[in-house]
Every structure is written in structure tokens, then in C-alpha cells.
């Protein structure tokens, strides 16, 4: 409770939490409020917003309901963002822990691989991966994780390097625990907090990368995505700007919300640390 109270002390954190909560409600409520396929043709094409009560945000070039697409797009954005961040954190912390704990040749090899991935811009990597394998939701998640795991790996390794010299690790060795067991049961859980602090940045970046891939036509075409909506709206930017502006605002708010909430978490834990 204390932690929550501290988290809610900063106005940024409150704003971030509210935006995130709204977004999650949107994503969860999408199939209830807008059952059926959000890409179904619902009315006349290019209806401007606030003209028709049943289509409050208007329709796109094919007459699809923009509000329904926005809600269903929130699902895709959040799902991809969270899944990609989870995958990146998982891969990163495992690689980082192994490298840090084993040391020597294993460390060198794993870190050089990390270097190699870090030298290639993450977006370029995702772009190449998706265009080779073919766009689908799973592939997009994998592609984003591919470029995002190196940060957590480096942070995890640095933490592990300091933790592995601690007394309780030596103790675990003495009682004959298997090194892998020590690494993943004793060391990793203690190395996690700073790694998790990266998660908000990774989620925000993953949502943006997904939108950028969809914008370039490399998203899953069978799902609504905000990036895809912006790309579709771009061809009629001068005549129907709302088609790009509406999902654009949603995207900005989402990334801002995730980032602010993440900052809030980091700050509240930092305060606790400095107090103790």
C-alpha cells in the first residue's frame, strides 16, 4: 500500500496511470462494445466525425467505423507492446544472467552477440525480419523483441556481476547447488528490478515500432492497427485529415501514458531505496 501511495504522489504517475487504465478498459471492452469484425463496412465512405450518432468518429475510405477500429486497434497495440516487451525482457535477462554468472568464454561470446545486435538499428532489424518471414502478429512481436532484448541483457549482466560476489551466492555454492540453479533461483530474481525498470521504455518503443511497421504495410493485414489506420488515412490526408489524426492522437497518448507510468514506478522505487 505504501508503495502505491508513493507511486501516486507524483502527478505524472497519476496521469500515466489514468491513461493506461483507460487504454486497458478500451482494449478489454472492444469486443463487447463493437462485436464482430471491426473492418466490416458500416456506412458511407469518408463520413466526417460527429455527423452520425451511430458512427461518432466517422468512417474511412471503405466506410469502416473509425471508433470501432480505434478500440480494436488498442487491443493490437497493447498486445504487441506487452508481448514484445515480455519477450525482450525474458531473453535479455536470461542472456545477461548467463553471461554475467558464467563469465569467461561464455560471457565473451554472448556479449559479442549482444554487441552485434546492438550495432544494427532495432527498427531496421524488425523491418528486414518481417519482410523476409512475412507479416503476422506473432512475427511482428518476434521482430520487435529481436531488436529490444539487448538493453535488458546488458543491465542484467551488470547486476549479476555484482550479485555473484555476494555471500549468499557463495553460500549456495558451498551447499552444492547446481550453478544454473544458483543463477536462475538466487541471482536472477535479485537482478531483476533494474531490468524491469526498462520495461516502460521497451513497451513504448514496441508500440511505436509496431505502428511504424504497419504504416509501411508490414503489419498483420487481417487486424486493425493504429499504424495501419494512419497509413490508410495518409492517401486522403488533405481531404479527410481526421483519418490520420485520430489514431495518431491515440498513439501519442498511449506512448505517453506508458512512459509516465513507468517513470512513476521507477521514481517510487528510487525513493524507497534512498529512504532505506
Amino acid at each position: 500500500m505504501n508503495r502505491l501511495r508513493r507511486f501516486l504522489q507524483t502527478p505524472e504517475a497519476i496521469a500515466g496511470a489514468i491513461i493506461l487504465a483507460l487504454l486497458i478498459v478500451m482494449a478489454l471492452a472492444a469486443p463487447l462494445l463493437f462485436p464482430g469484425d471491426p473492418q466490416a463496412i458500416a456506412g458511407p465512405a469518408l463520413l466526417p466525425p460527429f455527423q452520425d450518432l451511430s458512427l461518432p468518429l466517422g468512417t474511412d475510405r471503405l466506410g469502416r467505423d473509425v471508433l470501432a477500429e480505434l478500440f480494436h486497434g488498442a487491443r493490437t497495440s497493447l498486445a504487441v507492446g506487452l508481448a514484445a516487451a515480455a519477450a525482450a525482457l525474458l531473453i535479455g535477462s536470461v542472456v545477461g544472467t548467463l553471461a554475467g554468472f558464467a563469465g569467461g568464454l561464455v560471457d565473451d561470446v554472448l556479449m559479442r552477440i549482444t554487441d552485434a545486435f546492438q550495432t544494427v538499428p532495432g527498427f531496421l532489424l524488425a523491418l528486414a525480419f518481417v519482410s523476409i518471414v512475412g507479416p503476422s502478429l506473432g512475427v511482428v512481436v518476434a521482430a520487435i523483441a529481436l531488436g529490444a532484448w539487448t538493453g535488458p541483457a546488458r543491465v542484467a549482466r551488470a547486476e549479476v556481476l555484482s550479485i555473484r560476489e555476494r555471500d549468499y551466492v557463495a553460500g549456495a555454492r558451498v551447499i552444492g547447488m547446481h550453478p544454473l540453479e544458483i543463477a536462475f533461483r538466487e541471482v536472477l530474481p535479485n537482478a531483476l528490478p533494474p531490468v524491469l525498470a526498462l520495461s516502460s521504455v521497451i513497451v513504448a518503443a514496441a508500440i511505436l515500432t509496431e505502428a511504424a511497421l504497419s504504416f509501411l504495410g508490414l503489419g498483420d493485414p487481417n487486424r486493425v492497427t493504429w499504424g495501419g489506420m494512419i497509413a490508410e488515412g495518409r492517401t486522403v490526408l488533405r481531404t479527410a485529415p481526421f483519418l490520420s489524426v485520430v489514431p495518431g492522437i491515440a498513439l501519442v497518448l498511449t506512448v505517453l501514458g506508458v512512459y509516465l507510468a513507468g517513470e512513476g514506478v521507477v521514481e517510487s522505487t528510487a525513493v524507497r531505496r534512498s529512504l532505506s
Partner: protein, 536 residues
Amino acid sequence: MSDLTISRRGLLAGSALLLASTALPTIGFAQTPKKGGRLILAADSEPRNLNPAIVASNGVFFISSKIVETLAEASFDGKDGLEPRLALSWEGAADGLTVTFKLRDGVKWHDGKPFTSADVAFSALQIWKPLQNLGRTVFKDLEAVDTPDELTAVFKFAKPTPFQLIRNALPALSSVVPKHLYEVGKIEDNPANNAPVGTGPFKFAEYKAGQYYRLARNDAYWGKDEPYLDEIVYQVLPDRTSAAAALEAEEIQLAAFSAVPLADLDRISKVPGLKVITKGYEGLTYQLVVEINHRRKELADLKVRQAIAHAIDKDFVIKTIFLGYAAAATGPVPKNDPQFYTADVPTYAFDVAKANALLDEAGYKRADDGKRFALKLLPAPYFNETKQFGDYLRQALAAIGIDAEIVNNDSAAHIKAVYTDHAFDLAVGPPVFRGDPAISTTILVQSGIPDGVPFSNQGGYKNADLDALIIKASETLDTSARTELYKEFQKKVAADLPLINVAEWSFISVARDTVGNIANNPRWAVSNWADTYLAG
């Protein structure tokens, strides 16, 4: 706006358009052409190979048709829809074995050497027949080209070849390149492929990758006083939205090939100083087609194909996707073709109930989730409209219980997936009708075409009757008998639906008021522009 309504009505009236257009005054002004000036226009792609004799495609013609000329060009009012360019006359023998061309006198290549019948013979035998994407079919029986004198070329065919076909092929397939530059070394690697040398009104001057192509006036051009322009600059603007902005900012004076998105036309037609022109593309009709993989057992059933045809609301496609700048298709020949089109074919009205009934009859009942079966749908990525139609088709199929999953690919991957790997159930394609069904239309349904030939029947469709009809038509010399066979062909295709023709569309130009002599032939954007001028 008046141009626009005339053309819209014209498209709907089909072939009447061609007749009507001849009666209309030429678009632009009734003033005498002015000499000089630089025309700057938008180019959306940068073809590497600019040799139109090898790559007969609109992307290449757009630039190189001003440099390299053909034997004849399409025309609104010329005999058989043609007007002379490098050839002054053409005549086919009654037995279909020879075609005689009389060539223009006093024509010089851009490097000063004289143009002769040897150049025509070389281009035909060494390039059009063995190397050209379209010429391979049309000139497959060309055996020799005799050159009795410098201005006569006699094409000799091993098998009777319809003169109508050769005539219809002239505007797109007969680009003549200089023998003296191409006879040494491998033709495909010749440097002139990237910096073409021709006889046309403009010389190739300069190409800066990612920036522009520049063509300069050919002072020694054969046309009297032509060309009027000093220079043509193709500004590379790959982004479609930027072409409209560049026009408004007066950075460019012309955007052809629908470089301005259809949705922007209404707005831009109201901008003072700009005009929207729908004419000048009558000879370049694109067809919106649903390609079908007949290897899928569901799709091999005619009832299922009929159901899909009934599920497509062509009216919606025309109005919403093409914003009215298209016409509904009835079969494999477009309505605006003056020679071959027939409306007397089976048609498929938009009728979801009937489509559902047909699928039930075929034995594909809805499962508990309302779905009958699932399909993979590959929309071609070349046009916004083909992609949007893919999105629409998915919804139209959902209404009749077919669950279509869209697979997006880039151009190269799409061509490989559909035409080589056959990894599709339905595909959305934009084949081009080139004035004669034998040039690039019959191969869309003919069987026995090797894997990997793009824009051909790769759906595994085989119909012995139709194949026999196609072969018979290709050997029939009499023009009216041949035309009748192609009318029969349209009926058979519409009845058996090897593919589904949905719509036919062409392009739109947007130009500043100052550009004169626009759209004065049916292939204007890919013609030589010798008479185009800038006023004021």
C-alpha cells in the same frame, strides 16, 4: 470539371467514347503552340532499364517513348486507330505470311547516323521476338525481315499471322533501336539500355538517381517545327501525396498516371490554374481481376466461383474505391475497346442471397461459427486500389461465409507467390488490356503456360474448349471472323469464370493550364509529346 464529366459518361458509354472524343475540340486552348520552355513533371518510379524494345511496359514508355519511337502510334481518328511514326504505311498480305512497312525518309538517329530498314529488321529479329516481354508472343512466328531497299521492311512469318494483331501491337511493341549501337556485345548489357538513343523528338540528357531524368530537344527531329518544348524533366516523387503538393506549389506542371490520389482530385480540381484530365489513357486500360487458384477443390467448383462473382458489389467498388473513375467490367475485354468488346455475355448481379444459395448447393454448408471454408487472399501491391479492393473482397466474402485471410507482399514476393509458387487461393491482379486480346489477355486463361510467367494463367485452369478457341483465333486471318471468335471467347470466359473481371480503370492527369496539347491520343502519357507545349 467539364472534361471530367464528359469522360465519366464516356467510360460508361464504352466505345462511344472514342467516337465522341473525335468530335470534341482538343483539350486546352485554340491557340497556336508556343516554342520553348521546360516541362517539369512527376515520376513515381525509376526504371533501370529504359529500353522500350526490351521492356514494353508503361513505366518505361513514360520516359523512353519521347526518345525511342515506334513504327506507329495510337490515334483517336486515324485509320484502324493508328497514325504513322517511323513507318508511313503498313500492309498485310492476304495469306498472313508477310507484312510490308514503308519507312519514313530522312530520319536520323540522335547520334547523326541515318535510320534505315536494317534498324527495323535488327530490332524485330534480335530484340522484339527473342527478348521483349510482349513481343515473344506476338512475333513468335516471325522468321525473317527482308530489306529490299533502305525504306522498306518486309516481315515474313513462318505461320499465317493475323494482320489485325500485328497492327494492334504496333503502338506498344514496335520500338526501334539503332542497329549500329546494339550489334556489338550482349543486347541486355548494352549501355544504351540506360541512356537510350533513338529517333524521337527528345534526346536523353541526364539521369540523377533519386532526383530526376532530363530530356533535351532533338533539333534534328523529322517533324516540322517539332518538338515545341526545349526540355522535359521528370522529377522523381515516389510519394503520391507529394505530387499534389508540388503541383499546387508550381514546382511541377504535370502529374500523369494518377500520381495525384483519386481522393484528392475533387479538391485539386477547384484549385485555380490546375486542370484534371481523364482523357489520354483510352489505350491503356487496366482491369481489376480476381485471380483464382483452381487447384483448390472448392474453387474448382463453378458454383463457388459464381457465388464469389455474385458476392462482389461492382457498384460499390466503382463508387467507393475508384470514386467513379472506373467502369464495371463484364468480361475479359474492356468496354472501351472499339474492336472486340461484346456486352452479350453472362453477367453476375450483386446478390448475396443467391451467392449463399449457390454455396449451399455446392455442398459447402455454414459451420456453427457461420463459416464455410477459409481462403488465402493475395492483393497485388502495385496500386492503392488493388489493396483496397483486397480489403473490400475480404468483407464481401465474409458476408457469404468464406473466411479470407489477407497476405500482403511486396511486388517481387507477390509475383513469386502467385505466378511461380502458386501459394494463393484468390489474388487480386491488375492485368492490362493492350488493344488486342492476343497480346496479353488470352494468356490469362490459356492452359499450358510454364510456371513463373507473370500475368498469365497460373491458377491451374484448364478448359480444352477455350484453349481450342484461343488457338483458332490466333490463326484466323479474316478480321471480322477473328473478332467474332474473340466475342465467343468473352462469352466462354464470363460463363466459366476462370477469373472474375470486376472493373476497368485508367489514369488521370493533373496539369497546369499552361500545358497545351494534352491527351490528344489514346496513349498520350506514353506517346512522344512532340506537339506538347507550354503557353505563357
